[in-house]
Structure formats: structure tokens, C-alpha cells
């Protein structure tokens, strides 16, 4: 029997995975935990396994794994945590800076999107104040195991010594490596970081909720002016200068499929005229879409770019270019909104 613990990596998903394994082993015997996000690696692990029972831990599954999970109706648990926890956990584990960690989390969310939208799957809410036994019981229900007051002691007693009096929050601190450090990082986030992460929650987490996630936005704080000191594009950009790239970033990921990007600009004092080009560029060194046009003297306008994401693992960048030397003018990106137009599954 195969089960899956899916979700962007977090202390909570690690704890849930451990509890799921304890439950499955209680009822099925030995259960092998396999963490592999590439189908060839997963196949190799399955060939090597010493048991018929497996628990997959998936955070960035490739398309083949995602399709297999959905097609075969693999019983799965999905744990969704806020970007602050997910990003801090990535920082703690990999030494990334905050923005790199946020980018990594967008990769996890985008890769998990096809599984998360599976009708057979619902997120498992986890409350830190909840007793550990109660969470264990709910995980059992999710996976279809009859966890009860009778057998819960046998399930938890072996590896969770104080399980009777322990809350989920305490269990995280005691039993999950890196949880303390993650929560400490979370508590030290600046107001600006928290605002960015809040925007990411509102934008990306609905992708993991059934029926949501058709439209998201990229925070301007994660995109940059292409000149030292590479500030965020949260203020108007002086166009004065030669033809050049004006902005780049955010190197976020999107679920596979067709998307439309809507970029809204505000422009002032462009009396001598100019042309602007906007493109969507991937880490696979490919321009997915581009548009160019003459700029007005001033005002607010929007441009739309249709493009197809062929791999959620590709980082995406929205670049803007001024196409000829500028004597004047100030341009500001007001918003970057992305709407999904087609669901591949």
C-alpha cells in the first residue's frame, strides 16, 4: 500500500509525516519512507524497497509523479503552512536568504498544484494547541486507518514519550529537527518581510486549495530595478539614460499550464516619447512571451502577455526594457497579476 505526505516542507509536514508513518506501521507492519521528487529516483527507490508499504514524502514532485498520485488515487495528506514558516524552514535547512527561500516555496507550491487540486485530497489543518493524540486520530481518518483511544497508545507510545500531555506545538519543538530554529527565524522577521510573506500567502496558497488559485499576483517587493543598488520596484523608475533593461525578477515559479500576465504601469513626463518591451523569461533561457509598444506621454496603462509554463521547476522572470535612449520620464509598475487560463489535468 502506498501513501503520500505532500506539502511544501515545514516542521508541521515533517511531524505529520512521522505520525502517518507510525500509524501505517501499526496497522501494516514495516513502512518505508521515500523522499524523491524525480520519477526516475522514485522508481529506483521503489525497486530497492524492502516492504510493499511506502509513505512518499513529496514537496516538489515532477509531472510524472504528480500524475501517478492523482491517477492512482494514492491516499495523501496535504499540510499547508504560511509562507513565513515555509520560507524560514527553507532558510534554516538550506542557508538561503529570505527571497531565495520564498522562490523555493513558490516552486514547491507550483509543483504540488496538480496533486493539491485532486478532488480526493483536502488539506489537513494543524493547530499547535491541539493535543498530539487528536492530530494523530485525524491523520488516521485521512489515511483510512481506524485510530482510536484503544490503539493510540500503541501507535504513539513507542517514539513519543509524553504523548498524553503533549500538544502539537510541543511535539514540534521536541521531535522535529530544525523546528525551534525555524520558529526563531519567524519571530525575527521584519515588518517588511512579513508584509511580503503575507502577500505570498494571499497569492500562492490558494493554489493548494481546491477551487482556488486561478489568479495570483507577484509582490513588487520581489522584483528589482536593474541598476545598482537593485532596489525593489516599489517606487517610480527614472527612465533617463540609454536603452536598457529597467526591471527584472522575481524568479518565482508557476504551475504548468497557460497563463496571462497583466502588468499595469503608471507613466509621467514622457514628453519625448519612447518604446517599452516586456517579456517573460525562464531559467531555461527561453522567452515565453514578449510585447512592445510606444509609450504615451503619461497616464496608466496595462499590457498583457500570454504564455505557457511547461515545467513548474523553471524560474520565471518578468523583464521590462526601455528600447531607446530616454531624456525624461518616470515609469512605475503598479501591479503584476497572473491568471491561469487552462488546467492541464
Amino acid at each position: 500500500m502506498i501513501y503520500a505526505n505532500i506539502g511544501p516542507a515545514s516542521p508541521h509536514s515533517v511531524l505529520v509525516g512521522r505520525l502517518a508513518k507510525e500509524i501505517a506501521e501499526h496497522f501494516l507492519g514495516t513502512v518505508q519512507e521515500i523522499s524523491a521528487n524525480i520519477s526516475s529516483e522514485l522508481r529506483l527507490e521503489l525497486e530497492r524497497r524492502g516492504s510493499n508499504n511506502c509513505l512518499f514524502s513529496l514537496s516538489t514532485p515532477d509531472r510524472e509523479i504528480a500524475q501517478a498520485i492523482v491517477r492512482n488515487g494514492v491516499p495523501s495528506i496535504l499540510v499547508i503552512r504560511p509562507f513565513s514558516e515555509l520560507s524560514c524552514y527553507a532558510m534554516q535547512r538550506s542557508g538561503l536568504d529570505l527571497l531565495a527561500a520564498v522562490r523555493h516555496v513558490t516552486c514547491e507550491v507550483s509543483c504540488l498544484y496538480p496533486i493539491a487540486r485532486n478532488a480526493n485530497l483536502a488539506p489537513l489543518p494543524v493547530d499547535d494547541d491541539e493535543p498530539l493524540s487528536q492530530l494523530t486520530t485525524r491523520i488516521g481518518v485521512f489515511l483510512g486507518f481506524p485510530v482510536s483511544q484503544v490503539n493510540i497508545g500503541d501507535i504513539l507510545g513507542k517514539n513519543f514519550a509524553d504523548w498524553r500531555s503533549m500538544s502539537v506545538g510541543n511535539a514540534l519543538l521536541v521531535y522535529v529537527a530544525g523546528a525551534q530554529e525555524t520558529f526563531a527565524l519567524q519571530s525575527r522577521l521584519s515588518r517588511r518581510d512579513k508584509a511580503l510573506l503575507g502577500e505570498m500567502d494571499a497569492s500562492y496558497l490558494p493554489l493548494l486549495a481546491r477551487g482556488g488559485g486561478g489568479r495570483l499576483s507577484w509582490p513588487l517587493d520581489a522584483m528589482f530595478i536593474a541598476e545598482p543598488p537593485f532596489n525593489s520596484i516599489t517606487a517610480p523608475i527614472d527612465m533617463l539614460g540609454p536603452a536598457r533593461i529597467l526591471t527584472f525578477g522575481p524568479y518565482f515559479h508557476l504551475p504548468e499550464g497557460d497563463w496571462i500576465a497583466e502588468i499595469t504601469f503608471a507613466l509621467t513626463e514622457n514628453y519625448s516619447g519612447n518604446s517599452l518591451m516586456v517579456d517573460v523569461y525562464t531559467s531555461a533561457d527561453e522567452i515565453l512571451a514578449a510585447s512592445r509598444g510606444e509609450l504615451p506621454q503619461g497616464g496608466t496603462f496595462a499590457t498583457h502577455l500570454s504564455f505557457r509554463v511547461v515545467s513548474s521547476a523553471d524560474r520565471l522572470e518578468l523583464r521590462t526594457f526601455v528600447l531607446s535612449g530616454a531624456l525624461e520620464g518616470r515609469i512605475e509598475i503598479l501591479s503584476v497579476t497572473l491568471s491561469r487560463t487552462e488546467d492541464p489535468l
Partner: protein, 228 residues
């Protein structure tokens, strides 16, 4: 009309254009060629005027040279200003070269004989100076104009692209006379020649679609101009 030409009202060693607008009336309506252009040239300063074709450079030269008047704005000329160097369009074609020299020397209040000698010495036109200018080749006409420009001793030279006059020896002589012997004079150099601009100018005015902006950083200005 709301223009003021403050022509040598005070010799303060400065040329100042303020909010210059130049419109031409065309069958399809008014066309604004220069739109609110302002800049200064101080004594000895050399400014390049850069821009693509149609940006308004020639119109600006005409306004600075006093050939045309702006639709609005002010032009202050606090130093003597040449006509475009080597521009021979101002000659009276039926008069001889010599008579044209006399005529212009009188206009600019310069000693006539000395001016004739200086022009004759530089232009190397010899007996051709006794012939009507209409009989001159374009090269001879340009040499006469160039020599006359140098003989008048202006404070500021207006150079509109063409200074390659005559054969190679004459070109070298012209270049030397303008950029070496008169290195302390102010210059307004309209040119597409980046190396010339880099060699002789300290700042640049870039024109684009009638708008103008002065750059004190010449390298930055050339970067902007190169991608116009």
C-alpha cells in the same frame, strides 16, 4: 509671438536659451520642432548638440544663429556668435569674394583690409577672390566661408557638422585653426561624429522629438545618444 532675442545686449560671455519653442505651420496643423528647450554656453565652453535626424538640431542652429526666430522663449547672446562654420549660404552670389568679405567685415565692424588679408591667407583662393561667388565651386565657397568665420574672431563658433572642407591639407589646416588655435573659444558643435564630440566637447545637449536635455557627463550622454 512671445519671443525675445537679447542680441548682444550685454557682453557677459554667456549664451542662454530659455524655454525655446519652435512651431512650423504645416497643412496638417502646427508641428512643434522644439519644445521647451533650455541650455547655457559659457565663455570657452564646448557643447555638443546630438540627436537623430529630425530631432530639431538644424532648427536649433537656425535659432541660435538668428536665421529664424523662436515661437516662444528667449535667446540671450552675451558673446559674439559665428554663423555655422563653412556655411556659405549667406554670400551675395553676384558679388565677388572680395566684395563679400568687405561687406561682412563692415557688418561685424572689423578692419576691412586686415580681414581681406586674413581670409586670402587662409582660404588660398588667390585670383578667384576677384570673381563672383556664383562662379565658385561648392568647395571654394566653403573655404571662403570658413576663412571668413575665422577672420571675424567670434567668441563662440557654431559648427553644424560640416567642417571637412577642401583637400586633406586644407582640412588639417581648418581643424588646427578651429580646435587648436581657438581652443579657448566657446563652441556649439552639432555632429554625429562621436569621436569629434569626445575630443572637443565637455558636455552635450541631446535633442529627441523636439525635447532637449543637457548632460554634464559626456560619456553618459553618448550612451543615451547611441541608443536613441
Amino acid at each position: 509671438m512671445r519671443y525675445v532675442i537679447d542680441n548682444e545686449a550685454t557682453s557677459d560671455g554667456k549664451i542662454a536659451l530659455r524655454n525655446i519653442v519652435k512651431e512650423y505651420h504645416t497643412p496638417s496643423g502646427a508641428k512643434t520642432v522644439l519644445n521647451n528647450v533650455s541650455f547655457d554656453v559659457s565663455a570657452g565652453e564646448k557643447i555638443a548638440v546630438l540627436g537623430r535626424n529630425g530631432a530639431g538640431k538644424s532648427t536649433l542652429v537656425k535659432l541660435i544663429g538668428g536665421v529664424e526666430k523662436p515661437t516662444s522663449g528667449t535667446i540671450h547672446r552675451g558673446m559674439t556668435m559665428s554663423w555655422p562654420v563653412a556655411f556659405g549660404g549667406g554670400f551675395e552670389a553676384t558679388m565677388t569674394g572680395l566684395d563679400n568679405i568687405r561687406f561682412i567685415a563692415r557688418i561685424y565692424n572689423r578692419p576691412i583690409q586686415e580681414t581681406i588679408e586674413r581670409v586670402d591667407d587662409f582660404a588660398e583662393l588667390g585670383q578667384h577672390l576677384l570673381m563672383p561667388v556664383k562662379a565658385y565651386s561648392s568647395g571654394m565657397r566653403a573655404r571662403l566661408a570658413f576663412a571668413l568665420t575665422l577672420a571675424i574672431d567670434f567668441d563662440c563658433f557654431l559648427i553644424d557638422e560640416v567642417i571637412s572642407v577642401g583637400d586633406q591639407r586644407f582640412q588639417r589646416k581648418s581643424h588646427d585653426a578651429l580646435f587648436v588655435k581657438r581652443r579657448d573659444c566657446a563652441m556649439i558643435l552639432v555632429s554625429h561624429d562621436i569621436s569629434m564630440v569626445k575630443n572637443y566637447c565637455s558636455k552635450a545637449l541631446i535633442l529627441k522629438n523636439g525635447r532637449g536635455r543637457v548632460f554634464d557627463d559626456l560619456d553618459f550622454a553618448i550612451d543615451v545618444y547611441s541608443s536613441l
